[in-house]
Symmetry: C2
């Protein structure tokens, strides 16, 4: 089956909801695992990589949690654009996008479990959830990991824990992360303060597509830096606690903006709506930033009757690989900017015109 036919539609993907999803777009837990006695993918010859792939794929596919209706494919069978679509859905990493023969992907029907074979490690397993659900994601992934250990000989050292290609993953091999939408902290100019505080707690704050990417659309990824010296559950709980604090800061920042600078906020949101609904050319970057403001508008009640999921769907559909799906011709950036604006003008008809009179201004925002 084609990955594009397999994937949940952008509309359905955007309709998923979870706790705190005004601020937390999604939660993810990832485990890195390797097979004992087989060189890491980056050091392996092609034959070794293919052998590891052939061992891993059936083992992974036989997992109960993966299911018989999963999508499983070798990376070279996917087109460049299909791989980019997977990156835009946050299902695979940019590094995995570059892989071909000897690397693979296994994705369950619900898109809550995605495994990358021969990325940087032999196996990178990810559990994905909408909203803030790190505990649930961790528990489901832990059970996958337990089952997998009965099928494969995992490289493990009594001294170091799980062995990984990069020492930054050594030990638990866990990476816990959440995608946060923080327009309040950005508009309230508190974001740098928050990033510094979070960094001091040993967490990394990154942009939309992870390491080294920009925080487009006021979306930030928060994840753990350390994988050694703490148990998986301790790491999950520590991040969860920090995330709850960031959520509170973001909510307070929004209340303060509403209380002290409502007109400025309305101005940003109104203009974002006007631009998205009427432009005839718009870049990906501008779109993300305007959609971020539109999402904030929905959250504060300024866009009556418009579900947040519509904004999230447009966020997905606006990205380059998703746009490319609309036409067989290879689009250049200029053509993409036009096609994006055509799509947005059309879909924005479903979005109500902003109405600031519907916004409840808090009598007194929290400190």
């Amino acid at each position: 089956m084609n990955i594009l036919e397999f994937l949940i539609s952008p509309s359905d993907a955007a309709k998923r909801s979870g706790p705190h999803d005004k601020v937390v777009l999604s939660s993810r837990v990832r485990l890195a695992r390797n097979i004992r006695g087989v060189p890491f993918p980056g050091h392996a010859r092609k034959a070794d990589r293919v052998r590891a792939f052939e061992t891993l794929m059936p083992a992974v596919q036989s997992l109960n949690q993966v299911g018989s209706d999963a999508f499983a494919e070798s990376m070279e069978k996917l087109s460049q654009n299909e791989k980019k679509v997977l990156v835009e859905r946050h299902l695979i990493s940019r590094e995995h996008e570059a892989k071909g023969v000897g690397s693979g992907i296994v994705l369950n029907r619900e898109e809550t479990l995605c495994l990358m074979v021969n990325e940087e490690d032999h196996l990178r397993m990810q559990a994905l959830r909408p909203g803030l659900q790190l505990g649930q994601a961790w528990m489901s992934l832990d059970s996958v990991d337990t089952d997998l250990e009965s099928r494969l000989e995992i490289a493990f050292s009594e001294q170091y824990g799980f062995l990984t290609a990069c020492p930054t993953n050594l030990g638990t091999g866990i990476r816990v992360s959440a995608m946060l939408h923080l327009p309040g902290l950005v508009l309230g100019e508190q974001i740098n303060q928050i990033i510094q505080a979070v960094s001091k707690l040993g967490l990394a704050v990154r942009g939309l597509y992870g390491e080294g990417t920009e925080a487009l659309g006021n979306v930030f990824q928060v994840s753990n830096q350390m994988t050694l010296g703490e148990s998986e559950l301790e790491i999950v709980e520590r991040i969860n606690k920090v995330l709850l604090q960031i959520i509170e800061h973001e909510e307070n920042a929004r209340l303060t903006l509403l209380e002290k600078k409502a007109k400025v906020l309305f101005n940003h949101i109104g203009r974002a709506y006007g631009t998205l609904a009427n432009a005839h050319s718009i870049s990906s970057k501008e779109t993300m930033n305007q959609l971020s403001l539109l999402r904030l508008g929905v959250d504060i009640g300024m866009i009556p009757g418009t579900p947040k999921s519509l904004v999230d769907e447009l966020f997905l559909l606006s990205q380059p690989a998703h746009l490319q799906l609309k036409t067989p011709d290879k689009l250049d950036a200029e053509q993409r900017d036009m096609l994006r604006s055509d799509m947005l003008r059309d879909r924005m008809r479903e979005v109500a015109r902003p109405d600031h009179l519907g916004v409840v201004i808090p009598p007194k925002a929290a400190a």
Copy 2:
């Protein structure tokens, strides 16, 4: 009678139409005249100025062309904001706005004839017409001038012609000007070329409020520099010829944009509409520039069912003194930007959403 009650409503003022008014907003002819033997206003003592005022006002008011239903008032009787409104209507100069005791204004019922008493000269008479109607404006003003000569002793020298306070007006004392809307030449990046060419022909190109002001909203004022050595009619005809050429260049520039950069044009116009209809704070400068694009949108058929007069009305209503009329409280710039956006959001409901499908793209634009 109060000047604000006297003035034609912005809506009615904007509904006036004339030849070539897609490009030419208005035509004006001005004559500078002085009374023999009385010092020029800038060199006169207050008593002299008041005496000249007392001679001039009844003489001017008795003119048939002025009529008994005209507005006639001493400048000190007008509030600061009323005077600013007159500047925004292009009825008096910025210099006249600063005047008080001993200076006056006489405006006929149709607002086609406006006389400033004791501006830089004793008398500056202006005939105003919508669109390109310099000949008509000149003829009507010539008849006013003829009638006036029978009532007053005008300072005239056989050698120099009419004597004026500033030598740049000496001779005929005529200033012929037109207000042009040139978004095509600005967007097509040909405007500087045109300004240079026009300057070489001895004409001045200025901004929205005349000398030393910026070309807000792509509006330019073209006027003669020389007042000596040619007859009034020669000057009028020469400018008229140049204006017809500028109109042709502007129309060609618009066709070329439509033919070669339609998407860019639609993008500008769509975004302008989106911003005007949804902002919650907007400066005067941004408003003029966006309304200019909206007017272009109406002209090319992209804003179905919306009359150009509505855009022209918004252009008037968006200006500071007109906004100040909406409230007794003295507005600062920030408050004005908010009130302006409130007015625009409200009135833009009458403007149809831009639809590029209604635009006829020329098969081949002229060279």
